[in-house]
């Protein structure tokens, strides 16, 4: 994040304008701007949880209700305390609620999650209806302590809060949390394969969303004075979800736009004398037009278009520099890095893998070949921890991995790619490598980049072609300095030339990166180029193992690929 003089100025100017407006415009417009800030907070909350983390949530207003309740209560109990402090306490108090909700619902996905959050919202609404918000029954409104009882200073506080939160979000981008969410949104398995803890990430998404909403609720307590459940109805969560997605609230600009839309549309309708219930109709029209094209909300599409223009002429494919054939001075040692012994997997009555044993030695590229359905991907799944149950033993560097979960295995040094491409379209090359790398040093990432000849780091992955995406996935697996990488058909979908280039890259991985490779591949030419030893699997059983050339010469192996008649 380069904060050069120019971008600093570009930020300061609108803020200065906003502050100036806050102190010069009539009081009504200051109120409107405050309302916009509050709506922006809620829209941003939706942006985090539902757009960036992909968790459809219909209870964001409920978090606001809790925040509002706490702030109202605090304002009545501690009237002299500075109001900003009360708002902060309110927001922070809601954070654990979001965390718990995210954690508890970690295994509930998609539409089911939407319904669960709606149920939570309806339940909370019901509970809040049993009584009333603090102060309502006695008619005592929330009155912020001076100077925040003045609308202008209140607006200033709200604006500063929003900007502070935005700065916080930018800092968040330095961590790999945001990239982790983007990965998790596409494929939870990919995220776990990178060593990310998916339930934690979901919990943190909900927690941050709850924080934003809770702070908004606290501000609403002062805006309205007396809160009612009508201000936080579950229905308004629907409206905010639609508006936030329509405007593209995964970006700050999109959230601001959503805030303006939420406040100014009814305002303009009112001024024009049009009935207020045209509002949802307009929202529907907007949503229809924007969303049917399928690339996100307004601001998101704007950003994509700018990226397209910026990278139009950039190199978008990976061009690995030619590798000199490294001599066999890199004779692989005999120490086993990864030992698989007696691996058996049953599904129902069927025995899918029958006592498979395989050793990947230090410094070698070991191919796992066999016809379709032989159980190769299943073996990879078992070794990397994506199968709930298997018999047998998986040992890495002498330590057994049985019972260790997928993300933990990834952190211990087993990385894998997937057979179906799981390109994380929301990220740039650099962001992807950084989140894959975990705690590895920056220098190592550059090394991986150069080794595979990847395109410029800022290019979004969605602009890369299929082949480069596959290469990128392999690069990502290596970025974390693992002990062994399991590559599941990395060449599938690649044209001939790129395929052979990749084969050579893979061949030299142990020499360059000190990491072993277990390579699952169909393409025999690829295997011959890349691997030293091979194991052949057919119908869940090992039928041969040894040096590549030897193995490929055996008649059982050939017939397993070509059918019994074709032995020559």
């Amino acid at each position: 994040m380069r904060l050069g003089k120019r971008s600093l100025l570009v930020w300061i100017l609108p803020v200065a304008v906003a502050v100036a407006l806050g102190f010069t415009l009539p009081v009504y417009w200051v109120y409107i701007m405050t309302a916009v800030v509050i709506s922006t907070l809620i829209a941003r909350s939706v942006g985090f949880v539902s757009i960036q983390a992909g968790l459809i949530s219909l209870c964001q207003m409920s978090f606001a209700a809790i925040g509002g309740w706490i702030v109202s209560w605090l304002a009545l109990e501690l009237p002299g305390v500075a109001f900003p402090l009360l708002v902060l306490i309110g927001g922070l108090a809601v954070l654990p609620v979001g965390w718990i909700l995210g954690f508890v619902t970690a295994r509930i996905r998609g539409a089911e999650l939407a319904v669960v959050t709606l149920g939570f919202a309806a339940a909370l609404d019901l509970i809040l209806r049993q009584g009333s918000f603090p102060g309502v029954s006695t008619g005592t409104p929330v009155t912020p302590a001076a100077p925040f009882d003045d609308s202008r200073w209140f607006f200033l506080f709200a604006l500063i809060l929003l900007l502070a939160l935005q700065s916080g979000s930018l800092l968040l981008r330095r961590t790999s949390l945001v990239s982790g969410w983007a990965t998790m949104r596409v494929s939870e398995k990919s995220a776990a394969a990178m060593g990310l803890k998916v339930p934690m990430m979901k919990a943190s998404a909900f927690a941050i969303g709850a924080l934003f909403s809770g702070l908004a609720g606290g501000l609403l307590a002062a805006q309205y004075g007396l809160l009612t459940t009508a201000a936080f109805s579950p229905l308004s969560s629907f409206g905010y979800l639609a508006t936030a997605v329509l405007c593209g609230a995964s970006f700050f600009g999109g959230a601001v736009l959503a805030g303006f839309v939420a406040v100014l549309v009814p305002e303009i309708l009112g001024r024009l004398g049009l009935p207020l219930d045209l509002g949802p109709g307009l929202l529907a029209l907007g949503a229809f037009d924007v969303l049917r094209r399928g690339n996100g909300g307004i601001v998101e599409r704007l950003v994509s278009r700018l990226q397209d223009r910026r990278f139009r002429d950039a190199q978008r494919t990976s061009i690995p520099p030619a590798q000199e054939k490294r001599t066999d001075g890199t004779r692989p040692s005999l120490n086993p890095t990864l030992e698989i012994t007696g691996l058996s997997v049953t599904m129902g009555q069927q025995l899918l893998l029958d006592s498979v044993s395989l050793t990947v030695r230090e410094g070698e590229v070991h191919a796992l070949i066999g016809p379709n359905g032989a159980g190769k991907s299943l073996l990879i799944d078992a070794v990397s921890g994506f199968l709930p149950r298997y018999d047998g033993n998986v040992v890495l560097d002498g330590v057994t991995l049985n019972g260790v979960r997928a993300y933990a295995r990834a952190r211990r040094g087993i990385r894998r790619t997937f057979q179906e491409s799981k390109s994380i379209e929301g990220l740039s090359v650099d962001e992807f490598l950084r989140v894959s790398a975990g705690t590895a040093r920056r220098g190592h990432i550059d090394k991986v980049r150069d080794y595979f000849g990847l395109p410029d780091g800022l290019i979004p992955i969605r602009l890369l072609d299929v082949g480069s995406r596959r290469v990128l996935e392999v690069a990502g697996a290596l970025a974390s300095q693992p002990r062994v990488v399991l590559l599941d058909e990395p060449a599938s979908g690649l044209p001939e030339q790129e395929s052979s280039a990749l084969a050579e890259c893979i061949r030299d991985i142990p020499a360059v990166f000190g990491c072993s490779v277990l390579l699952v591949e169909h393409d025999i030419g690829f295997v011959k180029r890349a691997a030293a030893r091979a194991t052949v699997v057919n119908a869940g059983r090992i039928i041969s193992s040894g040096l590549v050339a030897d193995v490929l010469a055996q008649p059982e192996v050939v017939s397993s690929f070509l059918g019994k008649r074709a032995t020559s």
């Binding site: 939407a114 319904v115 149920g119 309806a122 909370l124 997605v245 969303l291």
Partner: protein, 280 residues
């Protein structure tokens, strides 16, 4: 006993939601609102002195028409939307239906004639309306009927195929758009039927009818959005629970909230082994 009417309504709406979700992948929050639209249209016609039969048919047709139109719009302009876009579509549709309903139908009470004669019979000390029994039976018939239609008729099989492999089905020359429209229209019609059965016993407003979606969704959730029978049973139980829990002092005030809590816990427990989503 008292809650079974509600339970039957939840069941029919829930089954429609589940079926539509399986077939076209959209979680339809407006399922109850669509039914309310049809029911209110019927009652408005009755107020204007139309014969009941004609009014009912018009109401059913209107709801089927609106729902079918929505299905047509979605299949025409939204090809393969993401889960998020589908949720937004559903949310916006819900807001639209509520707004339109408030404007057209307001909240004044109106005559809601029962589709059956208004007789009551005595069942275990509580007088039960024949309409109640009819509602429950209808819910069961709909659940059975939909299961049979989906499994044994041509149209049903095509719909199931379409939900799993839309591209393949289209390549086979089957008109997926027509199937989508039919699915939407069918569920719209059935929801109206549900409302027509429930309304005479409760005289609800448009708003309260539309919000029957919440317990219906809870029932669908228990059925994992796939099992029609579990969904129906769950809906009837939710209705019965809401009625019965009012007798228990400490539960009574919160009985509306309990289903939500129970469902979250149930689901979390049920899913504890499903670490990885089958799709991803």
């Amino acid at each position: 006993m008292a809650g079974l009417v509600s339970g039957a309504a939840y069941a029919i709406v829930a089954v429609c939601v589940v079926v539509l979700y399986r077939l076209v992948g959209v979680l339809n929050f407006s399922q109850a609102a669509l039914g309310a639209f049809g029911a209110y249209a019927c009652y408005s016609l009755v107020d204007a002195n139309f014969p009941l039969g004609l009014a009912v048919i018009t109401g059913l047709a209107l709801a089927a028409g609106i729902a079918g139109f929505v299905g047509w719009v979605l299949s025409r302009w939204f090809a393969n939307p993401t889960v998020l876009v589908r949720s937004v579509i559903s949310a916006v549709l819900f807001l639209l239906m509520l707004t339109a309903g408030f404007r057209l139908f307001g909240d004044s009470p109106r005559a809601m004639p029962s589709l059956v004669s208004d007789t009551t019979i005595d069942v275990a000390g509580v007088r039960v309306n024949v309409g109640t029994i009819l509602a429950v039976v209808t819910a069961l018939i709909i659940a059975t009927g939909l299961t049979l239609v989906l499994r044994y008729t041509q149209v049903g099989l095509r719909m199931q195929a379409m939900s799993e492999r839309p591209v393949t089905v289209a390549l086979l020359g089957i008109n997926t758009r027509r199937l989508t429209v039919v699915a939407w229209a069918m569920t719209g019609l059935l929801s109206t039927l549900a409302m027509l059965l429930i309304a005479p016993t409760r005289n609800p407003t448009f708003e309260s009818m539309s919000f029957l979606i919440v317990p219906a969704l809870a029932a669908a959730l228990v059925g994992s959005f796939s099992n029609v029978w579990v969904t129906t049973l769950a809906a009837l139980l939710i209705g019965a629970f809401e009625g019965g829990a009012s007798r228990v002092e400490w539960l009574a005030n919160y009985r509306g909230a309990l289903p939500a809590v129970i469902i979250i816990l149930t689901l979390t427990w049920m899913r504890r082994r499903e670490v990885w989503d089958a799709v991803r």
